[in-house]
C-alpha cells in the first residue's frame, strides 16, 4: 500500500519564535514591538531579526509611528500571512488527526 505523502510545511514560519509572532497577529490587531516582546518573552535583537524575516517574506507589515513624541513600531499581519497561517493550521490539524 503506498504511504500517504508527507505534508509540505513553510519552513520560515515553522520556527517557534516566528510562529509565536504570527500567532499573536492572527486576530488582525496591530501590535507594538514592546507589547510583542513582553508577550512572547523575547529579546529586542531576536524579535527585530524575526520581524524582518517575516516582513521580507510578505507575511507581516511593519509601520513606524510617533506616539507622544516617542517612536513606536507596530506590526500587522498581511493577507498573505493570514493565508499561510490558515494553511499551516490545517496541515498541522491533519497531521495530528492522521492515524
Amino acid at each position: 500500500m503506498p504511504k500517504p505523502e508527507k505534508p509540505k510545511f513553510d519552513e520560515l514560519i515553522l520556527s517557534k519564535t516566528r510562529l509565536g509572532i504570527i500567532s499573536a497577529l492572527i486576530g488582525g490587531d496591530k501590535l507594538e514591538f514592546t507589547f510583542l516582546r513582553n508577550t512572547l518573552d523575547l529579546s529586542d535583537g531576536n524579535l527585530s531579526v524575526q520581524i524582518r524575516k517575516l516582513e521580507e517574506a510578505g507575511y507581516i507589515k511593519v509601520e513606524k509611528v510617533f506616539v507622544d513624541r516617542k517612536p513606536k513600531t507596530f506590526c500587522k499581519i498581511t493577507s498573505k500571512g493570514q493565508k499561510t497561517i490558515r494553511d499551516l493550521i490545517r496541515k498541522l490539524e491533519d497531521l495530528v488527526n492522521s492515524d
Binding site: L19, K30, L36, K72
Partner: protein, 215 residues
Amino acid sequence: MENEDLLEDSKANQESFGGQKIAADDLKFMRSVIEKTCRKIDPGWPILITWGLILMIGFPVLYFLKIRQLDNWLWRVQWLLVVIGFSISIYFVTKAIKRERKAGLISKLSKQIYWIFIILSANGIIWTCLDLFRDHIGGFGFLWTAICGIELSMIGILYSREWLYGGIAIFAGIIAAYFTAQYAYVILGIVTGLACIVPAIIAQRNYSKQEQENA
C-alpha cells in the same frame, strides 16, 4: 525480509508519532499565544452611559415641549442633544484610540465598531438635516432610537451579547411607543437610556474581572 519490513514500518510509525507530537505542540503553542494577545477590548462604558443619560433626560424634555406646543424650542433641543451626544462621543473615542496606541495594541474589533457607529450616526444626522423622518418614521425620537437599537445590536453580534439584549429591548420599546403614541417619547427615552446604561455596566464589570484574572 519480513523482519526488515516490520522494522521499517515500526520506524515509520515512530517518525509519524514524533511528527504528530510536534504538530500537537505547535498547535498548543499557537493557541496559548492567541489567548494571551486576543484580549477583550475595553467596552468604553462612559460613551454609552452618557448617551443613555442624554436620551433618558432629553426625550422626556422633547415630550414636554411637544405637549406645550413649543415647536420653536423643539428643533433647538433636538439639535442640542445631537451636538452634545456627538461632542462627548468624539472626546471619548479619541481618548480610547490614544489609550490603545499607548498600550501597543490597536484592536481590529474596536475599529470595526467605530465605523459602525460613524456610518449609522452620519445617516441619522443626514436624516435629521433633511427632516426626512417627520412623515416617514414618526419623528426624531423614533429615528434616533432605531439608530441606537441597530448600533447596540451590531456591537452585540460582534463583541459581547449584553449589547444585543439592549438592542432587542430598544426594538421592543419602539413597538410599545408606537402603540402608546401619547407617551411615546417618554417610553423611548427610558427604554433606550436603560438599554445603553445597563449593558455598559455589565460589560465594564466583566471586562474588569477579566483584566484582574489576566494580571
